[in-house]
Symmetry: C2
Subunit: 412 residues, 2 copies
């Protein structure tokens, strides 16, 4: 009999308990073995739930109980999740986590302990909520040489960008709407500044390319600078603006890892991913582009991903799954300005000959137009070059234009 | 040392050998064990390949060689693939197959033998080419109660429908183009009549709902009756025409299993899947809609899916994967006319009051218009009802209109 402890009875944790009892019979059939939830760890009281007798407040009960062989961590945040998970693994218990911050910061260390103790540390729910991502990358695409991963990894920002684009809202109004609908938190900074996407791309990069990437190594920009004007210009050349987390292998073995708003062509499957939906594109040498799409967050989708990992733990009680990666090495993540891309630029012109100056300085420039465009406003997309060269050219044009905003244009 | 035999050196089989040697080091790392290809079975000679010494013509060499523990079947067709695979499983060898016809016809029997012999029978490549589908459904979505699966499962027909829609070609011209580009075979019937999609939905239905569905139990219609007029009418209400394979659970435990062209709203992720791409939507009670998108066919995508299964076999040499389903039971697949949907109808009018008659007979009718619409042509979408009732109403309108074509409108 497998005994499970669930640590944290918030949105995801309570969903795990709910999904487990709701789909109990089919889960047991799929797992091929018996299991039950023995403890639910939370400092709060939940006397109204049917599982009130399972609640405990002392973590030590879990770690010391030899009957508990699988621990679900849905507390979120780095501490005390990290300490608890580490102790559980060291005590020879498999751990399933939905905690992206934990995996992005401590994934290498925790996977190493799991390997040493011959137990599982699984975290399908940490990226993409209920969308299967981690397992397909680590298993189904195992025979591929993955060259790039790019995704819309945060539903809140995607909802805001969709509202700006489709309903012509400005950023502030779209954010208020997201907050009133419960899609954004009162302090939305982790979402709108890109930190949430950053943690997820760290995990995806580690899986795809085999080395841990830490959040502070990922060049991260949020969507707070995106204006309605930018979105209108993007629409004028059949493109959408999306917050893209991306990791790309360079020919010398280093990688690029970035999170920033990007202009994506309407031909890309990512451009039609709207509202709170997420999608991840995996580019492999054999498969070409494969895209995974679905709800990236929410109680039940995330809980179902956690339960799938629990089922996998039960099936592999004896034989550990081979999920692992190496630690980061110095110089592994390249500077983001080494990337090759096109740049969208929106600027104030300082001279009537601005267009001519821009054309002299940059090749392949396309000028854009939008409704109600002020006379002194100019917008264009550059040809493809290294970001470093493009930024340099912008500096050299500072006598001619005052840049209001730039957005990278990605071929994904 | 794991020794592999590859049966069939056609498009997929040669791709498997190619991917294996090209990504050899990373495949071995991911598998965590050593392996090599020992035999390639084909009746033809391939003296030019670097693996010429591995070719054999006698299947018995493989089945009798105790060193061979994993057999890859990429021959296609029911025989001799079925006999060979069965003998390999009975001899205690794991088998990986890309053969959708084999799995759709003999999946239950072969999985039962695999279970009995404690070996693996895996077939990720049989549906969706390089798109991970089988494993996500069986593992990642295991904690879900899946209610419906719908997909664009055939690249050839999707290419043809895209050409009709985007380039206003008629069916014959689009088919010729597909043939000249190598996307359609000289005899395109397995694709355009829906048989290929039918085999794939059998496999998906068995995985999702746990019982084998045989191809002859799936109501199957192809795309040969779709006209440019139909596609234009569909476009007029923001929808696309796609060949959809679909399996849906009814409340009484029976299922609907169908393959036919269907009108899909532009709001659906499936509507933007164009050209030779495939996509599968899985609707779960916890996850909501999850969509998997990518190239559904082709040498390297399919080969990479086969190799992923081989890696999984190597990892699970001792511990079998729990992929299995029950056999079909009488009455399990419901008649397709029990489904509830809307119907698009294109017809010749026999009287000037046709519209009035139609409105009297059917509720919620919306009439459609297209460019160059002949005066006697009428097109409309009905309200939602059982297909049986809608067909009955069409019959009762036979004095008023002569139906030219009907297409189901699906909410997927």
């Amino acid at each position: 009999m497998n005994k499970i402890a669930v640590m944290g009875h918030g949105v995801v944790g309570s969903g795990v308990v709910e999904v487990f009892y709701k789909n109990h019979d089919s889960i047991l059939t799929k797992a091929g073995a018996d299991m039950d939830i023995k403890y639910i760890l939370d400092l709060r009281e939940f006397p109204e739930t049917p599982y009130a007798d399972k609640f405990i407040k002392d973590f030590k009960v879990i770690v010391k109980d030899p009957e508990v062989n699988i621990v679900v961590e849905t507390m979120g945040g780095l501490e005390p999740a990290y300490t608890f998970v580490k102790q559980c693994l060291e005590a020879g218990k498999s751990v399933v986590s939905s905690n992206k911050e934990l995996v992005a910061q401590k994934g290498f260390e925790l996977l190493s302990i799991a390997k040493e103790k011959n137990v599982n540390f699984l975290f399908e729910a940490s990226v993409g909520g209920g969308i299967p991502i981690i397992r397909p990358i680590s298993q189904c695409l195992a025979a591929n040489d993955i060259t790039e991963i790019a995704g819309i990894l945060n539903g809140t920002t995607n909802f805001i960008l969709t509202k700006i684009f489709k309903d012509k809202m400005d950023f502030e109004k779209a954010l208020s709407l997201a907050q009133s609908l419960g899609y954004a938190e009162r302090d939305p900074s982790a979402d709108v500044l890109g930190f949430d996407s950053c943690r997820k791309i760290c995990i995806l990069a580690a899986l795809a390319f085999g080395k841990h990437v830490y959040p502070d190594q990922v060049h991260t920009e949020g969507i707070t600078e995106i204006t309605l004007a930018d979105v209108l210009y993007a629409g004028s050349f059949c493109s959408a603006v999306k917050l893209i987390g991306r990791a790309k292998k360079l020919t010398d073995g280093r990688i690029l890892a970035t999170v920033y708003p990007a202009i994506v062509s309407r031909d890309s499957q990512l451009s039609s991913v709207d509202d709170v939906f997420n999608a991840v594109m995996v580019r492999g040498d054999a498969t070409g582009d494969v895209v995974f799409y679905g709800k990236g967050a929410g109680k039940l989708p995330t809980a179902s991903a956690v339960m799938a990992d629990v089922i996998d733990c039960v099936k592999h009680v004896a034989a550990r799954k081979y999920l692992s990666w190496d630690d980061y090495t110095e110089g592994y993540v390249a500077d983001y300005t080494e990337d090759t891309l096109a740049l969208y630029v929106c600027a104030e012109t300082k001279t009537a000959e601005a267009k001519e100056h821009i054309k002299t300085k940059l090749s392949g420039v396309k000028f854009l137009a939008r409704e109600n465009q002020p006379e002194s406003e100019i917008a264009f997309v550059t040809g493809i070059d290294s970001e470093k060269n493009l930024r340099q050219a912008m500096n050299e044009l500072s006598d001619v234009i005052t840049v209001k905003n730039t957005i990278r244009v990605l071929d994904i």
